[in-house]
Symmetry: C2
DNA sequence: AGAAATTGCGCAATGG
DNA sequence: CCCATTGCGCAATTTC
């Protein structure tokens, strides 16, 4: 009870392969490439393939790049080593002419003294956020780079496999050809260790 | 005159395929996978494959990630729209206590007045450089992302191809099996439209 | 409304 | 010395 393999019409007399090769040998220029195989009578022996092969022909659909979740590491060391910068407080701590154009400086009431506790806190928090964000960004870039290498390796693997499979198919093709030749020579399978020269069968 | 295909020892009597299947049919559990094929007598018919197959087994070598040259587009629009920033010149244009530690301020002579023409020029140039550099960086990142998608598509293509090839090999395997069965049944190729039941041959 | 996240930008230190 | 790169802080915007 072999599973798949189209059990339809099992001629008890001749095996599928023999019949196929018999048909094919007529035109020796047997192209056994991926694209031709499903056009050969050979395939008719396995109806399943036909459909799958057709399906295979249109898989060029790619969406959802697949963003990978990145867990940013919080370097939450409270120790904020901030002491190098000259504290460049622009100017006018209180007076606030502030070159900024005619923007309404009424944010709550005052131009938000750059000394105000609240301001400093906001700044600090933003600084942290910025640092965090940048770290994350960097991480992401790195991951992407890694992904590239990963995919490149995968690609090479697949290509090697394809090469191998192709080679195997080629070998089988040759076997089939030879079989076809032989069947052509001994039209009737006589068991005698014959003498029919197989050399001139080339043509 | 077929080119390749190991011309060594062409037994004129039986074709390679038949002899192979004859050998193989003994153990019906014929694994025709990529890895087993080259261990089968089948392969002995084509000595070439053996070597190539072996080679194939060790292609896990990856170097030179292939950095792709990126031509940064110089957005050299001279128009530098710099006018929003409040020009926040830190403080003390000339005095300059400057919180910076005891760094010797003797760079040429003066603490490099932030007004000095030369200073401003340097700053401007640096700003340009920074902008350029960042643009470049962004470009690179984008390219990398693109490369990922590219590779992903390539991968899918290759996988589809592998699937197809595998399917084809599977079909051929079945054909071979059937052939083997038939050869087993009619031990002597009698052309009679036999009655030998091929069903109990399953085991 | 508001806090965090992102982004553009300039400064300074540093690498080449 | 110049340009390129990088870390950092500020402020405007965006996102949630």
């Amino acid at each position: 009870m072999r599973a798949g393999y189209a059990p339809s019409r099992t001629r008890p007399s001749v095996c599928a392969m023999c019949s196929v090769t018999r048909q094919v040998h007529v035109k020796i220029s047997w192209q056994f490439s991926v694209e031709t195989i499903d056009h050969l009578a050979l395939i008719s022996a396995c109806s399943v393939l036909t459909r799958e092969s057709a399906q295979m022909s249109k898989i060029s659909q790619n969406s959802t790049p697949g963003v990978n979740g990145i867990s940013v590491i919080h370097t939450q060391a409270h120790a904020s080593g901030l002491q190098q910068v000259p504290q460049l407080v622009p100017a006018s701590p209180g007076g606030g002419g502030k070159a900024v154009p005619p923007s309404k400086q009424s944010k709550k009431s005052s131009p938000m003294d750059r000394n105000s506790d609240e301001y400093r806190q906001r700044r600090e928090r933003n600084n942290m956020a910025v640092k965090k964000s940048r770290l994350k960004s960097k991480q992401k870039a790195q991951d992407t780079l890694q992904r590239v290498n990963q995919l490149k390796e995968e690609n090479e693997r697949l290509e090697a496999k394809i090469k191998l499979l192709t080679k195997e198919l080629s070998v089988l093709k040759d076997l089939f050809l030879e079989h076809a030749h032989n069947l052509a020579d001994n039209v009737q399978p006589s068991s005698t260790e014959n003498t029919t020269n197989s050399d001139n069968a080339e043509q």
